[in-house]
């Protein structure tokens, strides 16, 4: 009896622990859904003191979202968060392995329990200002993005290993696009210092970064297309759009910026947006009233009933067994000395 109750006590304690963990959080968890203002700001970072984060949802049926995390960032995960994205890790590894950004991919296609498969995961990229995107050899929590650089997240769906699509947007700050070579060069240097693997790419092409400023958009974009994009017709179409459109609009942006230096940066564009409308809507739609729902409470009641029934049955059997051995088994002792 005693040992049995130890077992059920352990289980009980476990559940109590879970409940205790959840209880104080519920008011807190009510808030973050919407009420908490999204961190960072929409659009590209205005200067070299922040990290611009580009998240490409196109493979998941969305667009590209560009936001800025202001100030120095500890690692790629922090940049993503501070730019105002909602990030979910896996159950097993925590946030070290980023599984969902702004609730996508949805729970119907990815439970986020264990490491996501290599056929559907968020690939992590980085680039200095005006450079080509580089696939990060390190996880987001293992890499510190230099200030003024770009972090990119692009969902890789059904791609061959090693050919994840880069974020389909040039890693270029519009504000200093046509400006002096200085910031671009500095960005390149910083990129070289920032990541081990990113280093060679960025360092080998500093001039390209600086020179790229004069002819923004088109060429850069084309260069960033995944080499095997034509494998999928839809992809191809999408890429084509991405290729064509920038020809005009970034130019305009740049022009605008040039004409009005102090004017605020745009927070939206034909090929990217500063806020993830879809996600905001979902968050707003979700009922975050706080405490557990009626279904949850009912399940808890059912659980208590099941545990009670189990405990009672075990206790009864114990008592019956003890009674019968006390009555009958006295003379059938095992030989202890063998």
């Amino acid at each position: 009896m005693a040992r049995r109750s130890v077992g059920s006590a352990a289980l009980g304690a476990l559940l109590a622990l879970l409940a205790a963990l959840l209880a104080p959080l519920s008011p807190a968890s009510a808030a973050p859904g919407l009420a908490r203002p999204a961190a960072g700001s929409a659009g590209f970072c205005p200067d070299a003191s922040g990290v611009t984060v580009v998240v490409d949802f196109r493979e998941l049926g969305g667009g590209r979202v560009v936001r800025c995390a202001h100030g120095p960032q500890a690692d790629g995960l922090a940049a993503l968060r501070n730019a105002g994205f909602t990030v979910a890790g896996t159950n097993r590894w925590g946030d070290a392995f980023i599984c969902r950004i702004n609730g996508r991919p949805g729970v119907d296609s990815e439970p986020c329990v264990d490491t996501p498969p290599s056929t559907a995961y968020w690939s992590y990229w980085h680039a200095g200002d005006g450079e080509n995107w580089t696939y990060s050899q390190r996880g987001a929590t293992y890499r510190t993005p230099p200030e003024g650089s770009f972090d990119g997240w692009s969902f890789s769906l059904n791609q061959e290993e090693g050919s994840a699509p880069a974020p389909g947007l040039a890693a270029r700050r519009p504000s200093d696009g046509g400006g002096s070579d200085g910031p671009g060069g500095a960005g390149g240097d910083q990129g070289g210092a920032g990541g081990d693997s990113g280093g060679p790419g960025a360092g080998a092409d500093p001039g390209g970064a600086a020179g790229g400023g004069s002819s923004p958009g088109g060429p850069g974009d084309a260069g960033e297309l995944p080499p095997d994009a034509e494998s999928d017709v839809e992809d191809e179409e999408r890429e084509e759009e991405a290729e064509e459109e920038p020809d005009e609009e970034p130019d305009e942006d740049v022009d605008d910026d040039r004409s009005a230096e102090a004017a605020p940066l745009p927070t939206e564009d034909a090929e990217w947006s500063g806020t993830d409308e879809e996600f905001e809507e979902q968050s707003a739609a979700r009922d975050d009233s706080g405490g557990p729902s009626a279904g949850t409470v009912a399940t808890l009641g059912l659980l208590v009933a099941l545990l009670g029934a189990g405990g009672l049955t075990a206790w009864r059997r114990r008592r019956a067994a003890a009674a019968s051995t006390a009555g009958a088994g006295a003379d059938e002792r095992p030989a202890d000395e063998r």
């Binding site: 095992p334 030989a335 202890d336 000395e337």
Partner: protein, 540 residues
């Protein structure tokens, strides 16, 4: 049923054959007792019946062994499972499954007996051996007698025509041995099974044997009715000894036989009463135990035992298997668990001393004495014992030579005979010169001669009047010949304590054969009677 045709068997690397020119023909339905001293080849003979010898042991077998026309040469032991059932000395070592019922069914499953038949035979066997109430029990929780009966049942379910039993009762107390033997007898009488049984304690089996196979030690086997063979045998149970002393012919095989002659002998002995028990020396007790209790969890093995052991005295500790004898011995030595009670040996409590100190106060030879031995040679063991006891080098060896002369230094302890190994362990434990010596079942596997020699050795150890020896044993004949005092333990309680003759003669199960024959006079051994008669022959 069983035919041995000119069988000669050599173990590997031995010049002398273990069996030589054995020619035997055992008819159906007989109970054959295989007798002989230790190491004469009894187990070899039994193993040859179903081909385990030589297929398991190696060696060279010439000649032919057949059982019911099947030769062991042509078929492996597995194929004899339906013909020959073999039960070893330690039933637990031969169990394959965990519960009684499954163990009974195991052999039948191997032989593809149909399930319905199997079920029926298991039930029959449970009834036949009186173990029906044990059917669901785990084998490890059974007592020794119950295990032995299950082991017999487990080979019996295939309805073999021959049953081979190697020392089936040597580990059992007298009552359990009776249970096992009566089960065997039922198989012989009701079902006509041929039974081949080897047993050191011939007094338990001899009266039931139809035929005796006597191995004198040169590899041959003499075969004949017990009465014809007994006069020339060098091993004989006490009742036969008594017959020889009293000059009865034919020799009595059982207590019942002997009691027919007893009135005359009693009259002859009337004017010469048995020697009174030796007076207890006046010395203070060497060991004083008060309220000693041993419990394992909630099971009490020994309950509040008060016991004094005196120097110069040999005490026998008797009781059923599982009565708490071993637990008491271990508690008295100090290294076993003791729940309560006080213990004084020479003013100290061995339970509170370091093991090395405790063994200078109380020495214990455990039931499996070989557990104490772990070195490669006798000399190394002896040297180690001297170091352990901080004794001068050579003390252990000197003790060994006194007890069992002629053991080579280079001999491996495991190669010694049972008696020699016992002497070695005894010498090791005596090297530290404890005043109190405790022995747990030392006579297991000893033949009559070895037991007699061991008894003399024990008497010699206590001759100086300082040392005391306590022996836990089931062997009533050994107790009758050796012990001054008997203590009986039952279910953890001390139920009897007194001079040997007094305690032993009053109990039907603990009485030695001679006492049963000459009841109500308290004669214990044939030796006593012989000395008395010799004295009377001189006196008139």
């Amino acid at each position: 049923m069983i035919e041995f045709d000119e069988v000669t068997f050599h173990y590997p690397d031995t010049p002398r054959p273990a069996l030589r020119d054995v020619r035997l023909s055992l008819p159906e339905g007989e109970l054959c007792l295989v007798a002989g001293r230790t190491g004469v080849g009894k187990s070899t003979l039994l193993g040859a019946v179903n081909g385990l010898v030589p297929r398991f042991t190696g060696g060279r077998l010439a000649g032919r062994v057949t059982v019911a026309g099947q030769s062991t040469e042509e078929r492996p032991p597995q194929e004899f499972a339906s013909l020959v059932g073999v039960v070893g000395q330690d039933p637990l070592a031969g169990f394959v499954t965990d519960t009684v019922e499954e163990e009974l069914a195991y052999a039948m499953e191997q032989l593809a007996v149909p399930p319905e038949v199997m079920r029926k035979r298991v039930e029959e066997t449970l009834d036949l051996l009186g173990i029906a109430e044990l059917r669901h029990r785990a084998l490890r929780t059974l007592s020794g007698g119950q295990q032995q009966r299950v082991a017999i049942g487990s080979v019996f379910t295939t309805h073999p025509q021959v049953l081979v039993l190697d020392e089936p009762t040597s580990a059992l107390d007298p009552t359990a041995a009776e249970e096992v033997l009566s089960a065997v007898l039922r198989l012989v009488h009701d079902l006509g099974t041929t039974v081949l049984i080897a047993e050191h304690r011939m007094e338990r089996v001899l009266q039931y044997a139809d035929r005796l196979l006597y191995l004198p030690g040169d590899g041959t086997v003499r075969d004949g009715p017990p009465r014809e063979l007994l006069p020339e045998m060098d091993v004989a149970p006490p009742v036969v000894e008594l017959g020889r002393v009293a000059g009865w012919s034919p020799p009595p095989l059982s207590v019942r036989d002997a009691r027919r002659h007893a009135p005359a002998l009693r009259r002859r002995l009337a004017e010469r009463p048995p020697p009174p028990p030796a007076a207890r020396p006046a010395a203070p007790a060497a060991l004083v135990a008060k309220g000693v209790s041993v419990a394992y969890g909630r099971k009490v093995a020994v309950r509040e035992v008060d016991l004094d052991l005196f120097g110069g005295e040999v005490t026998a500790l008797m009781g059923r298997n599982g009565a708490g004898k071993s637990s008491l011995l271990w508690a008295l030595q100090g290294s076993g668990p003791r729940r309560a009670g006080t213990l004084r040996v020479g003013g100290e409590d061995p339970g509170e001393r370091e093991p090395a100190e405790a063994r200078k106060l109380v020495g214990l030879v455990p039931q499996s004495a070989a557990d104490l031995l772990y070195l490669q040679t006798v000399a190394a063991e002896c040297a180690q014992a001297d170091t352990e006891s901080s004794a001068e080098p050579g003390r252990c060896r000197a003790l060994l030579d006194r007890m069992a002369p002629g053991i080579g230094d280079a001999a491996h302890p495991r190669d010694l005979s049972e008696g020699q190994r016992l002497a070695l362990v005894l010498a090791i434990q005596l090297t530290s010169e404890p005043e109190v010596l405790l022995l747990d079942e030392p006579t297991r596997g000893l033949d009559y001669d070895a037991k007699r020699a061991f008894g003399a050795l024990v008497r010699e150890l206590t001759a100086d009047g300082r040392r005391t020896v306590m022996i836990a044993t089931h062997d009533v004949e050994f107790v009758a010949a050796t012990a001054d005092r008997v203590v009986v333990l039952a279910d953890g309680d001390l139920v009897a304590d007194g001079p040997t003759a007094e305690v032993v003669c009053s109990s039907p199960s603990f009485a030695p054969q001679v006492a049963k024959v000459l009841r109500p006079e308290p004669w214990l051994t044939a030796d006593q009677v012989r000395r008395s008669l010799a004295g009377s022959a001189v006196a008139p």
